[in-house]
Symmetry: C2
Subunit: 326 residues, 2 copies
Amino acid sequence: MAAARARWDTRAKPPGALGRLEALAVHLAGITAQSPPPVPIAPAVVVFAGDHGVVADGASAWPSEVTTAMVATMAAGAAAVCTFAEVVGATFRVVDVGVAGDLDGTAGIEHTKVRPGTASIARGPAMTVDEALAALAVGRDAAQRCLDGGADLLVAGDMGIGNTTPSACLIAAICGVAATKVVGPGAGLPEDRLPVKVALVEAALRRAAHVTDPVELLAEVGGLELAAIAGFYEHATASAVPVVVDGVIALASLLVADRLRPGTAARCIAGHRSAEPGASVALAHLETAPLLDLDLRLGEGTGAVLAIPLVQAAARALRDMAGLPV
Amino acid sequence: MAAARARWDTRAKPPGALGRLEALAVHLAGITAQSPPPVPIAPAVVVFAGDHGVVADGASAWPSEVTTAMVATMAAGAAAVCTFAEVVGATFRVVDVGVAGDLDGTAGIEHTKVRPGTASIARGPAMTVDEALAALAVGRDAAQRCLDGGADLLVAGDMGIGNTTPSACLIAAICGVAATKVVGPGAGLPEDRLPVKVALVEAALRRAAHVTDPVELLAEVGGLELAAIAGFYEHATASAVPVVVDGVIALASLLVADRLRPGTAARCIAGHRSAEPGASVALAHLETAPLLDLDLRLGEGTGAVLAIPLVQAAARALRDMAGLPV
């Protein structure tokens, strides 16, 4: 990182004139242990999909069936994140780690379902510890397959109706804030139903009050795609590959991954600031400022994918810019 | 624009979940008069270079010779903006509209010098009205050549040691604010020399106090590359092609272009918020919020180029996303 800083200071520009991109390239040098850091040319996006029993208790404006439909839309390349991946030249894959609906007959999906949706976290544990471990392994394996395929920059996305509720639980539990600070409308819950969502999160948090182990926390109040994303981050960062993190679901998963392997979060790049309030709580806890702030609240990895060209530009400028005339 | 809004509301996502990208695609529909707007696939970046007599009066930390050196660096593809253009797949050209140094023997530059640098705006007019008109024509012609070459999204950049000083003058004059509100360190003027720069801007503004005609304003307190960029914007927007605007120099030029042809600014996309204070004054005057805020203060079109993938993503999502199941 010191070498990258020194290299910036001798490029053909006023000192510091590339602002946050200079810090970003220094971060990349730290992540990859190279200066100048390699320019990522093969980004890979993996969306993990799962369902949430808490939807039946009123956590979302949408029914769980929408998860199944959206995963099929992703498999067809017609979700928002697919169109963004095409713009930035990223490969795209979608993994069923816990969708309630039956997707066995749908092509273009990786079928690694751990269980068909979680149980309602307002009433009891989301899943067993063994299931949480299995979902973590799905994420780790997916990251490794990206690396085996030559990917040099990774993004995880989420699809799961209701998943802002377990995300709010994980963020509140790990950051030590009240449910009201992390609960937002998610995919469009009307304002008059927000108190219901807050009550569901509070019920889950009461049960999880004694839990400190990150795997137990996932099992108690998490979700299958959240666990997979945590495993994905843990494995990717341990492999010294840059990871760009998405919004509130991704950040909740990152907080868990950072508990599993301290230092994971410091090795990730925050892609954007989601409009969901829990995202800002998590970003503040991690003391990181994201690259983009475009009022997105879609998930799927969309905000992280949009930040990929910034990462490439930072690395490319540090590598390819002329030096100052001596 | 109404058709684009209606199309967003039937895409497979919660209403409004793509935040500012939804407004961006609606803006593109307005600019191009098509819904969904075409996805830009052939962006073109043109940097206009010129020098400034006011540098001899202490406006900059750098001598004018740096402009000549940086234009040669751009011709060699080794400036920051060149590396960014490669990341986003944009063509790149650099135009000498008023560099003081002799670049005739340098390949890879468009040689359309109107005069070798301006006179010091602290002492008298930057150039004649005829020279301002000639520089405007250089910009218009450059935009037309991009369009003739098939470009479907345009960015103008600037290179010119000292050009934050005429930019500050144009922004102060058009927005009606004091010199102290628009003067910043530019390419690294030490804080103890800022009062000198403020005094230079104030001297220029006193002379220009009676000037309302935009071409006369360019001649009195502007710059050759600023005039060219204004002409570039005027011509590109009149051609219904999306334009992404860079930082403080570009915004000063856009204010002039909007005086020349009212409505020009409304047809442009603000790419980023430069760290230079005049940029925020101009953005507020234009009532527009830029897409990126990365603390850049380099110019060259760098911030605008970084925003190109966001424009492509907004257009692509609106065109290619699945509709909601009926």
